[in-house]
């Protein structure tokens, strides 16, 4: 359930914290395990993380359900995290989100039929000088226009 590769990566986080405080690594551990399990967490994977870090399952579950970046429902291979907060809104994010929904034929929260993409409205991503913007994976895309969205989204595989 947790690959050896992910275990190694989790171990690299655990050593950052004082002995006995390995549960400080739970946030990254959940992220790594999510990434290798269809980008979502299940009660089983959460428990596996808890067991690996020697912490109560409920403590890991609390973290997994508190923070925004963990998924508990099916998502696409790529999640487009579209900022809709004030600076982006003032620069037309709502219109562009509608454009993207129409282009993909899904509403925010839904996954495209091929399982490739889902769109999520998110709160401020801290790149307001580049509004409107969205995030895919680790990457920020700023100063978006309909043309730019076409180019980025058409390139997703």
């Amino acid at each position: 359930m947790i690959s050896n590769k992910a275990k190694k990566q989790i171990d690299a986080w655990v050593v950052k914290y004082p002995e006995g405080h390995q549960s400080s690594a739970v946030m990254e551990a959940l992220k790594l395990v999510q990434a290798e399990n269809d980008n979502r967490l299940t009660p089983d994977t959460i428990q596996a993380v808890a067991d690996y870090l020697d912490m109560p399952g409920i403590a890991a579950a609390e973290v997994a359900t508190f923070y925004e970046n963990y998924n508990h429902k099916p998502v696409g291979k790529h999640t487009i995290r579209f900022c809709h907060n004030i600076s982006c809104m003032l620069n037309g994010s709502d219109e562009l989100i509608t454009y993207l929904e129409n282009k993909l034929g899904v509403k925010t929260g839904e996954v495209t039929k091929d399982g490739l993409i889902n769109v999520k409205k998110v709160e401020c991503l801290g790149a307001c000088v580049g509004a409107p913007m969205f995030q895919i994976g680790d990457q920020y895309y700023e100063n978006l226009t309909a043309d730019k969205i076409d180019e980025i989204v058409d390139g997703l595989k």
């Binding site: 870090l53 925004e68 809709h84 003032l90 620069n91 000088v129």
Partner: protein, 422 residues
């Protein structure tokens, strides 16, 4: 402009150790390692500099550092708050991307002053580019022998690590951040006890914002008075302002405190063509909104913005022109706090939901005549009644939007449509 945190911005590989050192970087740290600075001297210089916490609360940094029980015989921690997420704020991201070594040096200096041998930089989970930049800089610093145990043969030790968030605005609140660092939900703690006494893992801890740490090396290299003189009384130094919204050239500007709002607006290219300024949120979404008239007469420093009726906050200046529907703008902000409330305190958990739902029903054309009174009543019941400042942050925009732009809300309720957009 761009004298401290951004001074290397235009140079080649501004994030590299080479560029940082070419600009005098780590000179203060090397002096400390040679025993040429005492903690007391550093605290005095910081007090003289007038540096105040750049994350939003504006607490004097020198004073904060002096609160740490540096002689207590236990592990102590220095924590950097890079959990930038207040709508309109995007300055720390650029410090991490373009000048990560200034944060490392600032944190190391803090570690020395407070006798804390370990530090964590809590970076919001979405900031992966800044995270990798900071990690690369950390590796450079370790490889150059600037961090670690008994650095360069001295008695000074400092180890620095990164920690990543996972999407929660509340973790920018310092005690929620500590909970999160401990691998828990980000629920703010009661204060007192303050983190300087019981902080990370129950140990004395000082938490400062990224920009605060990044300002420290230059203050000590050039003197507290030099920094103080850049700014104005009560607001020493320069400050990063993120100017966003309806301007031609949205950007981060590092400018002297006390600059006029008018000049800052001009630096950002002014209002979009054919439009006029309508409203300004001067310090991030949590700070009260101001009318154009008031904003145009305001100076950008702690006292100047307070006099105008708002707060400097994190220096996040959100510009709205005459095409902006203020009901829509407030509804979006209310949604933010509703989404980000941690749920621990009833007034905030329930109140932010009420604020959003009432505003939403006005937007949907179902507003009721007494909804404005209801909104005022709800925000008043949140204000001052929560453990942390998120409650106040949710309440303040509501009060100020309704006070300054009441007629737009009345119009929307009466006609079921926007006075501005129709």
């Amino acid at each position: 402009m761009n004298e401290v945190c951004f001074k290397n911005l235009e140079q080649k590989d501004p994030w590299s150790l080479k560029t940082y050192e070419a600009n005098g970087g780590y000179s203060v740290w090397r002096k400390i390692l040679k025993g040429e600075f005492t903690p007391e001297q550093i605290i005095d210089e910081l007090k003289t500099s007038g540096l105040r916490g750049r994350g939003g609360a504006g607490f004097p940094t020198g004073l904060k550092w002096s609160f740490m029980p540096r002689n207590a015989d236990m592990q102590k921690y220095v924590v950097c708050n890079s959990d930038e997420g207040e709508p309109g704020t995007c300055k720390d991201r650029d410090i991490l991307r373009y000048n990560p070594h200034s944060v490392i040096e600032g944190m190391a200096i803090g570690g020395f002053v407070m006798n804390a041998t370990k530090g964590y930089n809590y970076i919001r989970g979405e900031f992966m580019e800044p995270f990798y930049r900071f990690e690369d800089a950390l590796k450079e610093a370790y490889d150059a022998g600037l961090l670690g145990e008994n650095i360069d043969g001295s008695s000074v030790s400092f180890d620095l690590y990164t920690h990543l968030g996972a999407g929660a605005y509340i973790c920018g609140e310092e005690t929620a951040l500590l909970e999160s660092l401990e691998g828990k939900k980000g629920l703010p703690r009661f204060k007192p006890p303050f983190p300087a006494n019981i902080g990370l893992y129950g140990k004395p801890t000082t938490i400062n914002n990224t920009e605060s740490f990044a300002s420290v090396p230059d203050i000590l290299a050039k003197g507290g008075q030099w920094f103080a003189d850049i700014g104005v009384e009560n607001s020493g130094g320069c400050k990063l302002f993120s100017v966003t919204g309806h301007v031609n050239k949205p950007a981060n500007f590092e400018v002297p405190m006390g600059i006029s709002f008018k000049d800052l607006l001009e630096m950002a290219g002014g209002i979009r063509e054919g439009r006029t300024l309508k409203a300004v949120i001067p310090g991030g979404s949590s700070t009260p909104v101001l009318t154009a008239e008031v904003a145009m007469a305001m100076t950008m420093d702690y006292d100047g913005i307070e006099k105008a009726g708002s707060m400097l906050g994190a220096g996040s200046v959100i510009i709205m022109d005459d095409s902006t529907c203020m009901v829509e703008a407030l509804t979006r902000l209310a949604h933010f706090y509703y989404d980000e409330s941690c749920g621990q305190c009833t007034p905030c958990r329930e109140g932010t939901g009420w604020l959003y739902r009432v505003l939403k029903r006005i937007m949907d054309g179902n507003g009721k005549a007494d909804d404005i009174d209801l909104l005022m009543s709800v925000q008043d019941k949140i204000m001052g009644n929560t453990i942390c400042a998120l409650g106040d942050a949710a309440a303040m925009p509501v009060e100020s939007f309704l006070r300054n732009f009441r007629e737009e809300f009345e119009y929307y309720i009466e006609h079921g449509k926007s006075m501005v957009k129709g």
